[in-house]
């Protein structure tokens, strides 16, 4: 399941809903991304996440389908926020449930790595020196490449 939304999410409630009634699930792994208050030694007051409605949902659905294809998942969830967020706020939740932990851990890592390089989101940070677009990192591309050519 995927959701793109402005409002916050409750991690506990999301997990409860994701696993409700499914007794085949033996393990659940999750990743939560939060807004930091520092970036490149500069203080961040807030950030605004922009996205491409339509393409975002399509890419997230493709990424999730790929994870379902690669691992025996009982359930999966991606929730990504957009709009103005402050340090400490949730940005993204990725959760994967499987009969066993290896698949849950691997699929969760795969989803966040791919999302970071494929899903059309952009971060604009508010700093003391004014607004600044976050630049893509080579390390994100390398993280994704770990999952290619399997």
């Amino acid at each position: 399941m995927i959701r793109v939304q402005q409002e916050d999410f409750d991690v506990g409630a999301e997990i409860a809903r994701l696993t409700a009634g499914n007794r085949a699930i033996g393990g659940l792994a999750l990743f939560v991304g939060l807004v930091r208050d520092m970036a490149d030694r500069e203080k961040i007051d807030a950030m605004t996440l922009e996205h491409y409605p339509g393409m975002t949902e399509k890419k997230l659905a493709e990424i999730e389908a790929e994870a379902q294809r690669r691992w025996p998942l009982e359930a999966s969830l991606i929730v990504h926020r957009y709009g103005r967020l402050e340090p400490g706020d949730n940005i993204v939740l990725v959760a994967c449930a499987s009969p066993h932990r290896d698949a849950a851990f691997d699929a969760c890592r795969f989803l966040i790595d791919w999302l970071k390089t494929e899903a059309p989101f952009w971060k604009l940070e508010e700093t003391g020196k004014g607004p600044k677009w976050v630049e893509a990192r080579d390390s994100d591309d390398r993280a994704k490449k770990r999952w290619v050519a399997d």
Partner: protein
């Protein structure tokens, strides 16, 4: 054809989306970028660094040689930074 711009491309070009007639001589993404550069200084600045530009046609990432046609939704944006 619907053109969409995101992040600093939107700011430099000065709008988030626009409808334009595709000129007859424009058949690929690369030709479209060359044509867009002729539309004004904002476009020229925004498109100067091709390595920092990603192109999506109808919600799919495409390369410079990909065909474009009237009726497409074409988006230009910098490398993504979500998650």
């Amino acid at each position: 054809m619907k053109l969409m711009y995101f992040a600093w491309l939107r700011q430099k070009i000065g709008c988030g989306s626009e409808e334009r007639e595709l000129p007859a001589h424009v058949a690929t993404v690369e030709q479209m970028l060359l044509w867009l550069e002729t539309l004004g200084p904002g476009y020229r600045t925004a498109l100067a660094d091709r390595k920092s530009i990603r192109v999506a046609v109808n919600h799919e990432y495409v390369g410079a040689g990909y065909p474009v046609k009237q009726g497409d939704e074409i988006a230009l944006f910098p490398p993504v930074t979500g998650g």
